[in-house]
Symmetry: C2
Subunit: 412 residues, 2 copies
């Protein structure tokens, strides 16, 4: 027996198809206003969640809403309303010799399920992107944020109802394990599931989903400083990649350095004494006495392949581009990888052979972001190759269908 909320989500798909694009943007603008004008109620619900969490918990800050944060959420929603519609784009068109007309046109997925943790802002972000692209939103949030999420979804439903739009355009599943199981098994009802959160959550969704899903986010990110790397560019790229924001998925986790450049290593990492380095033996020897001693540690078996999300970075020494590529093949997560080199042949090989969503030459991985890539917004960063890869904006959460028009032609 299918969960009734999931059945209702599926039913709402057709009612959303009938909306005009003007109506979609209008709804988002009204909702943005309502978020600010209903801040008190949202903050009160959030306070209930916060009261159950130890403020020392690293999740506490992510769970916390404030008036400023709500204004930021509303501002982002207005930006999504201002983007061009991702629907109805003609992706291919042809007329067969018999006169049959074919058009490949972008359409919504239908029902998009998002499984996430204690981040109530995601509730609004996901709804705005899904709604703008004609998709029905089916949310499964974390138990820690359940009061906040329920208040957010109730507000969205009030605004939908006031505009005469099917309120099943968004639904929040219970914050239970059973609800995740039902969502992941809802073949024929749910068209796509996107997990947003920890590696553990993403692995769980991938391993249990019978509906199509997109792995997002987890980024074990490497930057390779080549034998022909420019030191000044390297310093900027490594420092920006590592320290711009350590808690995001595009942050640098491992610096790979060519052995012929070990003498430059102290300068290469010299701009970020606040970072703890886990260096292999050769890198350790090159850095010893030239980097704050408490911050220089020996790499162990866990140092590579770890997404640190912190002021921590592994350092690996290699003797060739091949070895650097092999390291990334083994430890990278297919998110963002960079090379610093003045050698065009090495750059070309790196870009051709590295299997990742975003492959950089002489630029930091901190640019991996939907807004930076011109997508306007971002629902996540895909690290798989089926469907969208890399930053996912509005177009990336549409599918397409072939529309064929004839006059009774038949196929011989």
């Amino acid at each position: 027996m299918m969960n009734e909320t999931i059945i209702n989500a599926k039913k709402a798909v057709r009612s959303l198809i009938g909306l005009s694009d003007a109506k979609r943007t209008e709804l988002l603008l009204k909702l943005a206003d309502a978020i600010s004008s209903s801040a008190d109620g949202l903050l009160a619900a959030n306070a209930l969640d916060l009261a159950s969490m130890d403020p020392a918990n690293p999740l506490y800050d992510r769970l916390k809403l404030t008036g400023d944060r709500l204004d930021g959420i509303a501002a982002d929603m207005r930006k999504v309303a201002a983007l061009p519609s991702p629907l109805g784009r003609v992706l291919a068109e042809r007329t067969l010799p018999n006169g049959l007309k074919l058009r490949k046109v972008s359409v919504p997925f239908g029902v998009i399920g998002v499984v996430y943790e204690a981040r109530p802002n995601v509730t609004f972000d996901v709804f705005s992107l899904c709604f703008r692209s004609g998709n029905v939103t089916l949310l499964k949030g974390g138990r820690d944020a359940d009061n906040s999420n329920r208040a957010a979804v109730a507000l969205i439903k009030r605004v939908l109802a006031a505009e005469g739009i099917d309120t099943d355009a968004v639904n929040l599943l219970p914050a239970t394990h059973e609800a995740v199981g039902e969502l992941l098994g809802a073949t024929g009802y749910v068209d796509l599931v996107i997990p947003r959160g920890s590696r553990r959550l993403i692995d769980f969704v991938r391993d249990n989903a019978k509906v199509p899903c997109i792995e997002t986010g987890a980024g074990v990110v490497n930057t390779y400083f080549d034998a022909c790397g420019d030191l000044q560019k390297g310093i900027r790229i490594v420092t920006n990649g590592k320290t711009r924001r350590v808690s995001v998925c595009n942050a640098l986790d491992c610096l790979i350095v060519h052995s012929s450049r070990l003498a430059d290593l102290p300068e290469l990492v010299g701009g970020m004494p606040q970072v703890t380095l886990y260096a292999d033996d050769r890198a350790f020897a090159a850095l010893e006495g030239r980097f704050p001693s408490g911050k220089l540690l020996h790499a162990d078996s866990d140092s590579f392949g770890t997404e640190f999300m912190d002021y921590k970075m592994a350092v690996r020494t290699v003797d060739s581009l091949d070895e650097a590529i092999a390291h990334i093949d083994r430890y990278g997560s297919g998110h963002s990888e960079a090379i610093v080199t003045e050698d065009k042949a090495s750059a070309a090989r790196f870009q051709a052979e590295i299997d990742a969503a975003c492959v950089y030459v002489n630029a930091p991985t901190s640019f991996t972001d939907g807004a930076q890539f011109g997508l306007g917004a971002e629902i996540g960063i895909s690290t798989q190759k089926l469907g969208a890869r890399g930053p996912m904006g509005l177009e990336e959460i549409t599918s397409y269908k072939w529309l064929i028009e004839g006059e009774g032609q038949t196929r011989p």
Copy 2:
């Protein structure tokens, strides 16, 4: 411990990236020649498989290779060699205000696994499409065709070796249940799995795959003859959709007829007296005495939602376009759906609201085919929305990556 064949497939990805497109097409042309010149060996291996199967088994004909069939396989391979390369297409391009250059470029998936049944021709077809698009082929065929498949893969490997190309570009997994399990669980090694075969096989793959997979093929196909349908067009469309080839996935399974047109029903199906009809009560009454009596049966609960693959068709009566759309929503498989109507508004609503890969107005579903759609060839027809939808040719088995080139720019 990962299966060694799967590890070798993953390793071969990088060696295929280094091939030129000219080398890829040359290999396929040489292989096409080798298929014809090695026909005796292939047929001898196939004879071993045939000897173990009852000739009355409906699979027998699909399993059987002949000299003519091998020539057909070779001819198809030459066609794939003649198609434009799907790799290196620039799908988007932009330069940021800071000078950073972004390009979104098509690339191979990497390792594509295909799980199929007793059809040895699929071995060659899949290899030619995967190889042309830079992908490594990992095959898991049916036990019934194991001798044929092993001979085919040995031949491909001989030609690869003669051309100095990594022979792990193709591998055949053992025809065991364990091998399927290993393939479907090979996260990080296998980039995409495509099942080709029965509904049962497709469901098994979808339900057990941890790697991304594409549901293909199974088509419960409907055609709706609207209140405003043109009878002559309708006759051609229904007859062509049902009888052109009954054993293919685009064949018509259910004719939906508007109740105001029941008087036309005998003529609408009159061109195909060889088809057994499973009619609902109103349709049965309209047809009784006006269709060969042995061929007219009452519909039961299994008649709708069945992919017949035979000279059989359900007939359903509805009182409105809404009811027709609801029927398709409930029973269709998202493959191909058609409406026959002269009413533009009904046609537009049908195309907007029907959730299927291919939605036809006044044309038969028999056109759903990669070659007909201009894709040149076809590895299958996707009935899901993540990744390619509908017929999948070479471009549809590529992914993309973002290549970013800078001069040491950083992100504020």
